[in-house]
Amino acid sequence: MLRTENLQIRRGPKRVLTDITLEVRPGEVLGVLGPNGAGKSTLLAALCGELAPTEGQVLLDEDALSQWKGAERAQRLAVLPQTSTLDFAFRVEEVVGMGRLPHQTGTVRDAEIICAALEAADVGHLAGRSYLALSGGERQRVHLARVLAQLWPGQNGQTLLLDEPTSMLDPLHQHTTLKAIRAFADRGAAVLIILHDLNLAARYCDRLLLLEDGYPRALDSPQVVLQPQSLKDVFGLDVLVQPHPELGHPVIIAR
């Protein structure tokens, strides 16, 4: 399990993240919310080992993250960044196949997994196409398939970190992507996801972390975290919170 203890990140004199203690629990989707500059991406960077904590620590299975060797860590922890640049004409399945790099499962099994991951990210129909010929949204889903393939089938002990995986997707694909991520968590993987869209967060996450200027303002279920007063304080937005007529989760409506 991936967790932090009193994590603090400073850039120069400025405190970017303060006092973050959280666990990314197996079978759970943890959403991270906050306005721009709240520290969401910094938190992700610290959680995947790109940023060293100024204070506190990040632990994976009770060992410091920095102690983990590359391939072993990659078998347990996968990261989907917000943007990816790839300037070479790989085929879609080759890009997804790179996710299998940390594993030694052989080409046959890898091919099965690649196929399944492509389907899960709803890019199965793009197999055989050149990556460079895809639209922004299609490329984003291909990279999602890659990180899904990296942790396939997703089970206890594996953690998936995602930075705004739906930013370039149309409404339909926003939901299909989150459903696939949800399915991953249901199989036992731990998922942390940064989202901008409050309603998507409310629907698909089990818990939410609300960040304000680097401070953890709230860490609890959506019902508890998404209160009009908190949202007004953090986002400066006047909102109404209503339960979803069919599913019951909070729905945020701007006033």
């Binding site: 995947c48 990659a74 922890l77 790989f90 996710g99 940390p102």
Partner: protein
């Protein structure tokens, strides 16, 4: 999507091309040897006792002139192409060239120091001369690349962008230093410098060949083992890191292999351009960017293409010889422009 050539036909085709190039390189030359004589001379070389008049000369031409030259061409072409792939992977850009890390300009500077310095001491001594030149070129290439690499490192991380800028700056510096030497040089030294900068496989001898062959084989065996890691590196450094690859180590290996390979090639044959830039492109057009195919295929393609270029260099103006750098530039530059105009696939 455009159909790509599958690996097996690609390797068969490239190997055949290589064999044809080797054959032509051994069979053709300013001295016209009848085919039969060439075959008999080849047999004599490996110890089969065949006698016949004119065969001594054929054996000499084949064994002392054409064979070392062919081997040199194979090694130089192969290692330059391989280094091109490595640099295009390191900079994650298909327009990258081994010269970007400064190895070519460093080698040029080293050679200039040897040539001009040597003439200041009354000419390069005959026996020592070629070796001194090669050693200085090699050390120059290695030295400048090491400097570029150091400049790019901060806090244990190597910034490829900084390396690129450092490479440009040091190339400019090396170039102006060579310019200074050019100014200080007399006519004869100037000509030597110019010809060195144009590259040539002329005067290949086994003694000077072994270090390069060794380096080429070593690098050609080592880099393909990192093919999957190189593929991942193209996604981006942090993405590759998240896939469990030691990115810093990989970058160091790429820079080192390039410095070693190109340094040795330039030391043996002078500056030969465009091979590192164009050959990987060609292979990618045929077979896609997967390094597991690209790396070994580029070695074969580079070796074959350089031998073909050398054929032109040797025969076009016979009995004189054109510097091979001119041939590769004449062939490479228009092709490269064509690639740019054609747009990306």
């Amino acid at each position: 999507m455009r159909t790509l050539v599958k690996p097996r036909p690609l390797f068969i085709g490239l190997s055949a091309l290589c064999l044809i190039a080797i054959w032509l390189s051994l069979a053709l030359g300013p001295v016209s040897l009848p085919l039969l004589d060439t075959l008999r001379a080849a047999l004599r070389l490996i110890g089969v006792p065949i006698n016949g008049d004119g065969l001594e000369q054929a054996e000499l031409i084949l064994g002392q002139i054409r064979l070392p030259r062919t081997l040199l061409g194979l090694a130089v072409g192969g290692v330059l192409a391989l280094s091109g792939v490595a640099m295009q992977g390191l900079f994650r850009n298909p327009l990258a060239d081994p010269g970007l890390v400064g190895v070519s300009s460093g080698a040029s500077l080293g050679a200039a120091i040897a040539i001009v310095g040597g003439s200041a001491f009354g000419g390069l001594p005959d026996a020592f001369g070629p070796y001194l030149l090669s050693i200085c070129a090699f050390l120059g290439g290695l030295g400048v690349t090491a400097l570029v690499y150091r400049l790019g490192r901060r806090n244990g991380q190597t910034s490829v962008a900084v390396m690129l800028l450092a490479g440009i700056a040091l190339t400019a510096l090396a170039g102006s230093t060579v310019g200074l030497f050019t100014y200080l040089a007399d006519d004869a030294t100037l000509r030597t410098l110019t010809f060195w900068n144009l590259g040539s496989l002329n005067g290949a001898s086994y003694a000077r060949l072994w270090p390069l062959l060794f380096v080429t084989v070593a690098v050609s065996l080592w880099l393909p083992r990192r093919a999957s890691a190189l593929n991942a590196l193209l996604l981006g450094e942090s993405e590759a890191n998240h896939l469990g690859i030691n990115v810093e180590g990989l970058k160091r290996e790429l820079v080192f292999c390039t410095a070693l390979g190109v340094g040795a090639a330039v030391a043996a044959a002078g500056m030969i351009g465009f091979v590192g830039l164009v050959v990987p492109h060609l292979v990618r057009l045929l077979a896609g960017p997967d390094h597991r195919v690209l790396l070994p295929a580029s070695v074969l393609a580079g070796a074959a293409l350089l031998l073909f270029a050398d054929l032109i260099a040797r025969l076009a103006l016979a009995p004189a010889e054109m510097p091979i750098g001119i041939v590769t530039a004449f062939l490479g530059a228009p092709f490269f422009l064509y690639l740019l105009l054609r747009g990306r696939h």
